[in-house]
């Protein structure tokens, strides 16, 4: 599968949040690096069909981003997300599964599998509002994975995770990236260094780097600091 982002721009009154960005992604993990306000979230929201680009297009093997068919392929974790206050983790994941068109029996089975994968099986029946920040983030990751997405878009997924959870999460994403297009944004260089086979770097709405990062190119963190200083 190929995710094609073709010359997308998002213009707000006086500000261009994303400016003429194009790239193509295939199966594997792509890290999107950039400082706060670089346009990462706007780009990811356009790639998820939440925001309509001012110009340009997004498609997966020719399936446009604004179709039900595209959304059926998608798993998405927003930077900030909420939940209905009465929901337990199990109910939350099952609810998202239902909205993703998974039939009830299969959704129940899949929910248990995914909650096991993110290490929340033992607390799946507890209300999400009683969870810590890291646990809530894991519920978010679980809902994104419940439909076995072919395109997984994660906006700052490691925010709120402790170091142990971060390592566990990286391993999980690396595994998923073997047969899924994973695009995840972060401003933490080490998150990208460990698992991303491909790198996108944004500054002021523009793409300033695209491609794999090898040791020959030097220290990624140093390059990043130089670019964003």
């Amino acid at each position: 599968m190929k995710l094609t982002v073709n010359g997308i721009t998002k213009q707000y009154k006086n500000k261009t949040a994303v400016d003429q960005i194009s790239f193509q992604l295939t199966e594997g993990v792509t890290g999107l690096l950039g400082a706060n306000g670089a346009g990462k979230t706007t780009l990811m929201r356009m790639a998820s069909g939440i925001l309509t680009p001012t110009s340009g297009s997004v498609d997966a093997d020719g399936i446009p981003v604004d179709t039900e068919e595209y959304r059926a392929l998608l798993g998405y974790l927003p930077q900030d997300f909420g939940y209905y206050p009465e929901f337990t983790a199990r109910e939350f994941v099952q609810y998202v599964a239902a909205l993703k068109g998974i039939e009830k029996k299969k959704a129940k089975k899949k929910t248990e599998e995914i909650l096991e994968l993110v290490g929340l099986s033992d607390v799946a029946g507890k209300r999400i509002r009683t969870y810590s920040g890291g646990m809530k983030q894991r519920v978010g990751i679980a809902q994104a994975l419940v439909n076995d997405p072919k395109i997984l878009i994660l906006d700052e997924p490691t925010a709120g995770l402790d170091p142990k959870e971060r390592v566990r999460f990286r391993n999980l994403i690396a595994e998923i990236g073997k047969d899924t297009i994973v695009l995840f944004s972060t401003h933490i260089v080490s998150d990208v260094e460990h698992i991303a086979s491909n790198l996108l770097m944004m500054r002021e709405g523009k793409l300033i780097y695209e491609g794999a990062w090898s040791e020959q190119k030097g220290d990624l963190e140093k390059f990043y600091m130089e670019e964003f200083e």
Partner: protein, 237 residues
Amino acid sequence: MKEDWKTLLSDEFQAPQPKHKKEFLRNLRAREVSMPEMLLQQVAYVRPAIWLFALALVAIAIVGSLMRVETTVNVLTMLMPFSAAIAVLETRRSERCGMAELEMTTRFSLRSVVLARMMILGIVSFLILCISSPMIAAAFDAGTVLTAVRILIPYLITMSISLLAERSPLGRKTGYASLAIASGVSIIIYWIDNYEPNMVAKYLGMIDSWGIMIALGLMAFTAVEQWKTINGVEAFA
């Protein structure tokens, strides 16, 4: 003998392990989900308080009719605006709870979810009307249709104004404009019922002559407002 053959054959010719099973399952096109199925799915997520409020309205109609409490219809007309306000508030529940962005990226987008919820709550209100109107009409020797119209008009007025208000910048800021509108409509009804007997007579006369036309007009207006709200729900979120 037959069983032995079966065992022997299955021992000799084992079915091969499935190859690329995961890929095959992932490539299967998602099945179609019909609107009734979507409605049933969303019914499970309607808050219990909404069902309890609907049941309370039906209970008031039944008990009031059986005990021939003359103010039954007045009480219902005062409470139905809150039923409308609750339905309108449901259109913004995803946004209020921070679920909107997630629901916009699922196969059935936020728009479908809101449409389904509004349809469910519309059906609930219709059922309340279908149960209470004939009972009240029978108890107080009134026409069923005109009783229904009397209950329906404040509901439709509240719903249409609330939909308009919730889309306005002020309504979006306050978040509970619908409840304020429902309270306003109820207070006006209470005031007219209790302090303006002449107005009550005029109003009932108008219902007798024009009630059905007014209700149909309000229904059309409400439908337009609902359409605008559903179409704008993703833009607002």
